[in-house]
């Protein structure tokens, strides 16, 4: 294990990307053929209403953060704890290789079964989870590793213990620090992008969304409850809120939509991962080539325009 860790820290990851030492043939700069199939294909890219997307984003068979880590990266070494209080199982993070490049990868983790969901607190991170994520991102900055985040949460955990340990401060601190982190950050919303709980891992150079994922200020139920005093009007709220991937692309909140098949599960996520692999390579080539000042200036401007 010590040897493994030492090897991972031996080179400069961003230099490796710039020198294309991770091998050729991954990034052609052209969109993957399947990515374009969406518009014409009956199987992919089906136009849905917002409420349908919400329901699909919450399906329990949907691939979770851990699935993307195992499909896209190799030699994942999980790191634990926030160094202050505990290890939050709702966020998984650590070191990995992306085609030979050391990266830091962090995912908001839902479970695949009820038991797993309980263990992972249904993907609702506590302050400890956000602090762990920040710790790993600062570590990535120190060692020049790009950061790739997978976002999938109904929202930050809002129980009493989370309030007591400063849930608001933990999220705020992440927004503050990520805005000027001197290493490339990519965030992919793979399911539910629940408000501040999602944003705390999505202050990134680029934010992508899976086709049927959603990203919103609040759940449609909460929105309907607060504005119309009737949570049963959630389907109506979903239409009004503009929370689908295509809404967010039109609003220029996100850069890319990743198409997904019907009945998307871990078993059929192969083509999605191919698209992601290619797109991540392009991302790394683009952003690892920038100096820290250009990188942070562009990131600031990205959010400044919203």
């Amino acid at each position: 294990m010590l040897g493994q860790i030492l090897k991972m820290h031996a080179g400069a990851p961003r230099e490796m990307v710039k020198n294309q030492k991770y091998g050729t043939g991954i990034s052609t700069g052209n969109p993957h053929p399947w990515e374009n199939a969406g518009a014409e294909s009956a199987e992919y890219g089906k136009v849905r209403n917002a409420w349908e997307s919400v329901q699909i984003s919450r399906q329990k068979e949907r691939p979770v953060g851990g699935d993307y880590i195992s499909h896209l990266f190799s030699d994942f070494m999980e790191l634990h704890g926030d160094r202050y209080y505990k290890d939050d199982p709702a966020i998984i993070g650590g070191l990995a290789y992306f085609h030979g490049i050391p990266v830091t990868v962090i995912a908001q983790a839902k479970g695949k079964s009820t038991k797993e969901n309980v263990e992972h607190n249904f993907g609702m991170p506590s302050p400890d989870g956000y602090r762990k994520a920040l710790r790993l991102m600062k570590q990535a900055e120190k060692f020049g590793r790009p950061v790739i985040c997978f976002v999938d949460t109904p929202g930050a955990f809002c129980g009493l213990e989370a309030e007591e340990r400063g849930q608001g401060e933990a999220i705020a601190r992440n927004l503050f620090e990520l805005s000027s982190l001197e290493t490339p950050i990519l965030s992919v919303i793979i399911g539910e992008g629940g408000s501040g709980g999602a944003l705390a891992m999505a202050v990134a150079d680029e934010v992508w969304m899976l086709e049927n994922s959603v990203y919103s200020i609040l759940s449609p139920e909460g929105f309907a409850s607060i504005l119309w005093k009737d949570s049963k009007r959630a389907d109506e709220a979903a239409e009004v809120m503009k929370l689908t991937a295509s809404d967010l692309k039109s609003l220029r909140i996100i850069e890319k939509i990743v198409p997904e098949p019907e009945n998307y599960t871990e078993e059929n996520m192969g083509p999605v991962c191919e698209v992601l692999e290619s797109a991540v390579s392009v991302f790394l080539e683009t952003y690892c080539g920038m100096g820290p000042e250009e990188l942070t200036r562009k990131r600031y401007q990205r959010f400044r325009e919203m």
């Binding site: 809002c158 309030e163 608001g168 927004l175 503050f176 408000s195 944003l199 607060i226 600031y300």
Partner: protein, 253 residues
């Protein structure tokens, strides 16, 4: 007429006279304390710095009144007072609601920003006003705060923000969420420039405002017994939180 009715006591005449002559309280004479429910003479509230003389709870203060209270006389210069939302989600009924509040409060939006001097020390200040959609943060509030902080960074001034908010502005959806990132990023640049940011948490400070600029002060002050939290009383908390509030107290962070 029956014999018994001749001697029946009736107080009708007296009762009606009593109700006609009951004294009416002139409107605006009294204010009710939100904390203890006591009725306090409005004059006493103003003279007492908006602190309840019975329970010492803090009243919610209008933005311009708060600026009057803290800034040296005639030193406040307001910025960006014409900035308004453009209803980014085209939410029905929102523009009318905003227009009605603009009429009622005399404010264009839920925050007043500008430059002032406090005991001779210059500072950029931003004060939220709870009358305007619970001082919720939408694109206009986010933009005003961001511009104020950016200008403070350029002019090398400290920033003081008075937070009092129900959180993010629902009617602006995802655009409201992005204001959390935008304001936090501006404060990071201000901090990296070595400048001081004081955050003052008033009652209530919740939701997306707690999870962004409110909790990022180099020094955070809070009003005693202010409701400060992330979830907020009307959010989807999965547990019953104590009725007294998620967090309260006056302490210095």
């Amino acid at each position: 007429m029956k014999l018994q009715n001749m001697f029946k006591k009736t107080n009708r005449r007296n009762r009606s006279t009593f109700s006609e002559s009951r004294p009416e309280v002139p409107e605006g004479l009294l204010r009710k304390c939100n904390k203890c429910g006591a009725a306090i003479i409005a004059e006493d509230v103003r003279e007492g710095n908006y602190i309840c003389p019975k329970c010492h709870g803090y009243f919610r203060v209008h933005a311009r009144r708060r600026i009057e209270m803290i800034a040296d006389p005639d030193t406040f210069e307001e910025w960006d007072d014409e900035l308004v939302t453009c209803n980014p989600l085209q939410f029905r009924g929102y523009e009318e609601k905003v227009a009605a509040l603009q009429e009622k409060t005399g404010l264009k939006e839920a925050v007043v920003t500008g430059r002032a001097e406090i005991e001779g020390q210059p500072a950029v200040i931003g004060v939220c006003d709870g009358r305007f959609l619970m001082a919720s943060m939408g694109e206009a509030v986010g933009e005003k705060i961001t511009r104020a902080v950016e200008r403070a960074t350029r002019e090398k001034l400290p920033v003081i923000l008075f937070a009092c908010s129900g959180g993010a502005r629902m009617q602006e959806g995802i655009v409201s969420l992005m204001q959390m990132a935008k304001t936090s990023a501006a404060l990071k640049r201000h901090s990296d420039a070595g400048q001081l940011y004081i955050s003052v948490l008033t009652d209530p400070t919740t939701g997306g405002v707690t999870a962004s600029f409110a909790m990022l002060g180099d020094i955070i002050l809070a009003e005693p017994n202010a409701l400060i939290g992330f979830a907020g009383p009307r959010g989807e908390a999965s547990e019953r939180l104590p009725a007294v509030g998620i967090s309260s107290g006056a302490w210095f962070y």
